[in-house]
């Protein structure tokens, strides 16, 4: 096999795609294009260990497998456009590359708040450069921090800021409880209490109307007109798929890029998508295409997509990963297996008690579809015991 596979995106998905293409037997050229100047690195510690100063930025770098040693990396370069019919991509440095196959791995970027006020003092956490800037802000003496968005990233950053000794840490969210969307009320209530006990303040049911300050943020204006003083604002209000470069190819780019059950894009056998930019139907569940922003997905999807590109789909079962994610906040960990979000209507405590270590099960039509453990290692181990059951269960009917 000769020719060239272009991988658009040089984060975990791009790296694993290159490695898995070699593992699947592709011997031709592989060119990986990434807009960041850094070689692929691990992002989860950016809101936790690295932000806290407990791990170095240098420790984040992935070590590519020896099989990927001859992969050509074009870093600090963005894919500007693609013409799928002609099998070419145009880069922002003006060059045009032709390909035999294309891997879409351009991921997400943070959604930003569009409200009036200064920009300086407002941060996101997606890249090394983001985290470096935020750490510099958070480590100033007496800093007052407002986190907008009570999802996992927002709550991780709030916990890290408390740990760094910030004078005030306030989380603002229009929803009534933190992380309630993915986890449901039962866990969200105890998570709220645990954060409050550890020094995080919450302004829930509140939106952000604007920012005060001249050159730099000095306060966050809430939807009721009140003002929270702030030196550092962290915006953790979701993410936007990096798919603009795919415009004009007749693709469904409504939320990420739509794929079939083998991660192929636009009915083309030579184009696949991996990682959180892919909106794929998970054959394990109800067939509804969804994007998944879990750390485990880039590796899982790259493995499947590489097999499809190199060998086709003959004899290959549809992509059906078991979702898994974790989140470390303060001194506790959340560990999830399966799809809790599909079972929010029937949530039961399987073990323990919400005031301590607890294991929660999420059910649909009486069937367990997800488990989440909250607490220390014993809780996580208890969750792991359900993983085999979750793997064995029949696919959910739509």
């Amino acid at each position: 096999m000769t020719g060239r596979i272009v991988v658009a995106g040089a984060s975990l998905g791009g790296l694993r795609a290159a490695e898995q293409l070699r593992a699947a037997g592709w011997a031709g050229r592989i060119t990986v294009i990434g807009d960041e100047p850094h070689p692929p690195y691990n992002r989860p510690p950016l809101s936790k260990e690295v932000l806290a100063g407990k791990a170095s930025f240098a420790s984040l770098a992935f070590t590519p497998k020896p099989s990927a040693a001859d992969v050509e990396w074009r870093l600090g370069t963005r894919v500007a456009a693609a013409r799928l019919a002609e099998r070419t991509v145009a880069l922002d440095d003006g060059s045009v590359l032709s390909y035999d196959s294309l891997v879409v791995a351009t991921g997400m970027r943070p959604r930003r708040l569009r409200c009036p006020g200064p920009v300086a003092g407002r941060y996101t956490v997606r890249t090394i450069d983001d985290a470096r800037a935020l750490r510099a802000g958070l480590t100033r003496t007496g800093v007052r921090v407002v986190v907008v968005g009570a999802g996992f990233i927002g709550c991780e950053v709030a916990a890290t800021a408390v740990g760094l000794g910030a004078a005030e840490v306030t989380v603002v969210d229009p929803l009534p409880l933190p992380m309630v969307g993915p986890l449901g009320e039962l866990l969200a209530r105890t998570l709220l209490a645990r954060h409050q006990q550890r020094g995080v303040r919450f302004m829930l049911g509140a939106g952000v109307a604007g920012f005060e300050g001249d050159d730099r943020v000095t306060g966050v204006v809430l939807s009721d007109g009140s003002v929270l003083p702030a030196d550092v604002v962290v915006e953790s209000v979701g993410s936007v798929a990096n798919t603009e470069w795919l415009d004009g190819n007749g693709l469904d780019l409504g939320d990420g890029v739509l794929t079939d059950e083998h991660l192929r894009v636009g009915g083309r056998p030579e184009v696949v998508a991996v990682g959180d930019v892919a909106r794929f139907p998970n054959a394990r569940y109800d067939g509804v295409p969804r994007r998944v922003e879990h750390w485990s997905l880039p590796a899982d999807s790259a493995k499947h997509a590489a097999k499809v590109l190199v060998g086709g789909d003959v004899g290959l079962a549809p992509f059906a990963p078991l979702p898994t994610f974790w989140s470390d906040q303060h001194d506790f960990r959340l560990q999830s297996f399966g799809a809790p979000v599909l079972g929010l209507g029937d949530v039961r405590v399987l073990d323990g008690d919400p005031s301590g270590d607890v294991l929660v099960g999420y059910h649909r039509d009486g069937l367990l579809v997800g488990v989440v453990a909250l607490g220390g290692p014993p809780a996580a181990r208890a969750a792991a015991r359900y993983r085999a059951d979750l793997l064995k269960q029949p696919a959910l009917t739509p």
């Binding site: 691990n42 989860p44 750390w295 470390d328 290692p377 996580a380 181990r381 792991a384």
Partner: protein
């Protein structure tokens, strides 16, 4: 095959245990224990374990 886990990085997520149960396990305290010199026949699963480690703490040294 030689397997090295950076125990300063390891946070006992246990993902390696799912990928390579013959090589990695969590002990009764939930801490990682592993076989440092597994049989070469287990290479695929050990590579998988190294891939899925959230802290990227697992190294394979031939």
């Amino acid at each position: 095959m030689k397997v090295v886990v950076d125990m300063n990085k390891c946070q006992d997520h246990g993902q390696c245990v799912f990928a390579a149960p013959d090589v990695f396990r969590l002990d009764d305290d939930g801490r990682l224990a592993y076989v440092p010199d597994p049989d070469d026949a287990l290479r695929d699963e050990v590579e998988e374990a190294a891939d899925v480690c959230p802290l990227q703490a697992i190294r394979i040294e031939d």
